[in-house]
Symmetry: C2
Subunit: 363 residues, 2 copies
């Protein structure tokens, strides 16, 4: 259990228009910070006013990308309380990432406590409009001032908060995706299953090229044969073929998404067959040609579910489910978002609630 | 041609002991900074006192690893002037990296001018002791305050300087290296040929494991078959087998080292056969067993040349050249460092000199 100092901001910010938030554009009044120093461990956990970081230009994070992040959301319920969705899973994944890139562990209960404390402090920033939420961004950066290519001896663990708009302003519309067969997101033995910054910077060029060609997302293939499906954009991907659902197995190069894990549990609870295995593009294309490719969707914290209506592969276009959202896709979306906003009963123990008796609402 | 403002530090730092510098521990009095903003391009180039950066916690560099760096050195000649070694090559490579990770180009002549101006300003920091030099670290970081996974709309291009000690304090001794067959540095379609931070953070775990086992460096293999040699630590690698020298071809996953390029040119000028091709570990092991593996060495800016005396692969140890530095390794080292310090004639046009008439010396 951390003893967290809370230093309140003297002046609170004006809040932005809750109907025009976008994603990651606005930040709340406070942030969480905890320091790490070799020999001392993690210390000085505190909530303080949101402000610039002051770092030496030689800090390891600027040169060798020793950094990681997590992402989750706080949801405003109709009764005014605030829900979190499986924050312990983010804490566990954070530690898996930290192991991979040689950063120190953070106890999961401390992680969750830090999230809860910061969200409680800035509870008035959890928006109420349909589909909006407060995005929570925990991250760790290496701060030692040295140019040695070694794990840093000091770190900052921080959490910042950003109120975000509805992902689907005009409803849950399917998107067209581009199958990338030149650039690679991750390879076995690399950092694809860790949530570290470098993978995202490296992926920007493919995403930019796809957008220029009119596609919403890139579908990543494996690094070795450029044949097996990995992820879509920054989401995991699911295919429904003749009543069965398939998603790529966690082979070492795929991010273990928390929404992915939740979707698998939901499908099992509904007795819908779900398989985690290697999926080749040949299988997908053949299923599409035979009329067996019934639904395709991405899963991630930002969008929850992103239905795919078209796949572009080696110059050919394959339409999925007549470019309409499928019934399983819709059911998963309604169930997960229903749980998150407190309108659907949670039988899985996924929801944690933060009381906000005092001043809920966008003041 | 940039118009660079020079804002001098009011108080200069005490200089460290030049016989105990290490690598990347001390920084000089000034740094170079230039801003980029979408729509304005690069602007406000300036030399200013070395000081902390102030960045929003949501700056893209902290989350998505959109960052790159370069490395080169300034060498004190016996006549008091200062040499740079092929700084234009660093500028060209910077732009190749920037293309890959969606950052804006910097004209090579502006890059070189910025390097020269900063080194000239802090000329008194170029040490004189044998083997010491002033390490130059140009880097670019993404600064836009947003959590969108898109190329940043703003950047900082910076250069910082660090006086560094002799890499080989006790002479040019061969090291033992560990052939890594689990972790992967880079794959085709990835960012291995770009000098971006994420690759270095991702490599730390293998390097740490190798050090714990008593090895100086990791020898990286290809991502697909884990069979072909790629790099050693953060250096390129060369093998001399029966009088011929081999180095892995630039296949897309290998960093195009400037020392690598210089070594190839030197060998050609000496009529020593040099081949850039795919090299399998089988070839290396077979040559070692037959007594044909005559010399192995790494090349990079920090060490210039690092002789390899032993290779550990799948539980077996292979000794190279009786664990002694080979004649070609020695000749390359002496020639390159001789040119860099101004004691060997440069027939290649690699050396640029910076006048230091006023106040050279470690004051």
């Amino acid at each position: 259990m951390l003893t967290i100092d809370i230093i309140k901001a003297k002046q609170l910010k004006d809040k932005p228009d809750p109907n025009n938030l976008g994603f990651g554009n606005y930040f709340t009044d406070h942030m969480f910070v905890m320091d790490y120093q070799e020999g001392m461990g993690w210390h000085n956990p505190r909530v303080k006013p949101y402000e610039d970081l002051h770092l030496d230009p030689s800090a390891v994070v600027f040169h060798y990308g020793q950094e990681m992040f997590e992402g989750l959301k706080a949801y405003r319920r109709q009764d005014g309380e605030i829900n979190l969705f499986r924050p312990d899973m983010n804490g566990k994944r954070l530690n898996n990432t930290n192991d991979r890139i040689c950063m120190p562990q953070i106890p999961v209960e401390d992680f969750v406590q830090a999230v809860r404390t910061l969200v409680h402090t800035d509870a008035s920033w959890v928006p109420e409009e349909a589909g909006t939420s407060l995005y929570i961004r925990p991250f760790v950066i290496a701060t030692e001032p040295t140019l040695m290519v070694n794990p840093s001896k000091s770190y900052l663990f921080m959490i910042i908060l950003s109120p975000v708009g509805a992902y689907y302003k005009e409803g849950l519309n399917p998107v067209r995706i581009y199958v990338e067969d030149t650039y690679v997101r991750a390879s076995k033995g690399g950092v694809g299953e860790a949530k570290t910054g470098g993978s995202y910077g490296a992926s920007m060029i493919a995403q930019k090229n796809a957008k220029n060609e009119g596609f919403a997302q890139v579908l990543w293939l494996d690094a070795i044969e450029h044949r097996y499906v990995e992820e879509v954009g920054t989401m995991n991907i699911f295919f429904k073929i003749r009543g069965k659902v398939y998603t790529p197995a966690l082979s070492g190069s795929i991010l273990p998404g928390i929404t992915r894990d939740s979707v698998i549990s939901l499908l099992k609870s509904w007795d819908i067959p779900i398989y985690e295995e290697r999926i080749s593009m040949d299988t997908i294309i053949e299923a599409s040609k035979n009329g067996d490719l019934e639904e395709v969707f991405g899963t991630g914290t930002a969008a929850v579910i992103s239905p795919v209506g078209g796949i572009h592969f080696k110059g050919l276009d394959f339409v999925v489910h007549n470019n309409e959202i499928g019934p399983i896709t819709r059911r998963i979306y309604d169930t997960l978002t229903g749980m998150q906003y407190g309108n659907v009963k949670d039988d899985f123990g996924w929801i944690e609630t933060i009381e906000d008796k005092n001043d809920h609402g966008w003041l």
